[in-house]
Symmetry: C2
Subunit: 133 residues, 2 copies
């Protein structure tokens, strides 16, 4: 599954970790590397390694903030926006292909399982707080 997505992204000449970056930048343009790392739940050093590659590939642009010379604000290039749209289409198609037909029932079953799990957890929590032993 991940393997398939990786293979399809290779044709756009981007690597899997770049996809999340592109999608977030597509939605929130002009944010800093810090903010982006925070949104993606990864360390800042990660961005420091990935973003220069993407800049060289012409997908993004990094412009220094005029007020704060420490921060680099991130923007998609025309090329980057185009690639992002293609990548999202690929991803969506893959998901629909994977999810189509059979597993709708499974989704419902999972949701019900989760509900039961939550109920169980809640009652255990209530017991724990009643008997702090």
């Amino acid at each position: 599954m991940q393997t398939v997505l990786t293979r399809e992204l290779t044709e756009l000449d981007i690597k899997p970790p770049h996809l999340d970056i592109l999608i977030n930048l597509y939605r929130f343009e002009g944010i800093s590397q810090q903010e982006l790392a925070h949104k993606l739940l990864v360390g800042r050093s990660n961005m420091s390694m990935a973003l220069p590659q993407m800049e060289k590939r012409g997908l993004i642009e990094r412009r220094g903030d005029t007020k704060d010379k420490r921060v680099l604000r991130l923007y998609l290039t025309r090329e980057g926006r185009s690639v992002t749209e293609k990548a999202m289409a690929i991803q969506t198609a893959l998901i629909e292909r994977t999810l189509s037909s059979e597993p709708l029932d499974q989704c419902m079953a999972m949701a019900e399982s989760m509900e039961r799990l939550i109920v169980t957890l809640q009652s255990e929590i209530r017991e724990d707080s009643r008997e702090p032993s």
Copy 2:
């Protein structure tokens, strides 16, 4: 958080990925490397690298299955069982330390968020199946 656990495990001379292995072996002794990898949701090659290290450290023992010469069955040594118990105690203590006092409310809030999320998802699913557009 993960960092703290790692540091505490270092004193037992085991690495983080070994902890999951030990705990599963503590519960299900005699399983094969394949089965263990499946339980841990990782690839078989992972086990092939981690387990020989643990065997050298005297935590586990790998005995060939008599019926099937391909499979290696896994057993905890006395030492391994002892280390596992200590590690689980450390882990539990850390969790209780982290979870104590404040975040009980947060647990309940999270559970409620999940419930709402599930309801939303279910209605979206129903809409999707009504209008397959």
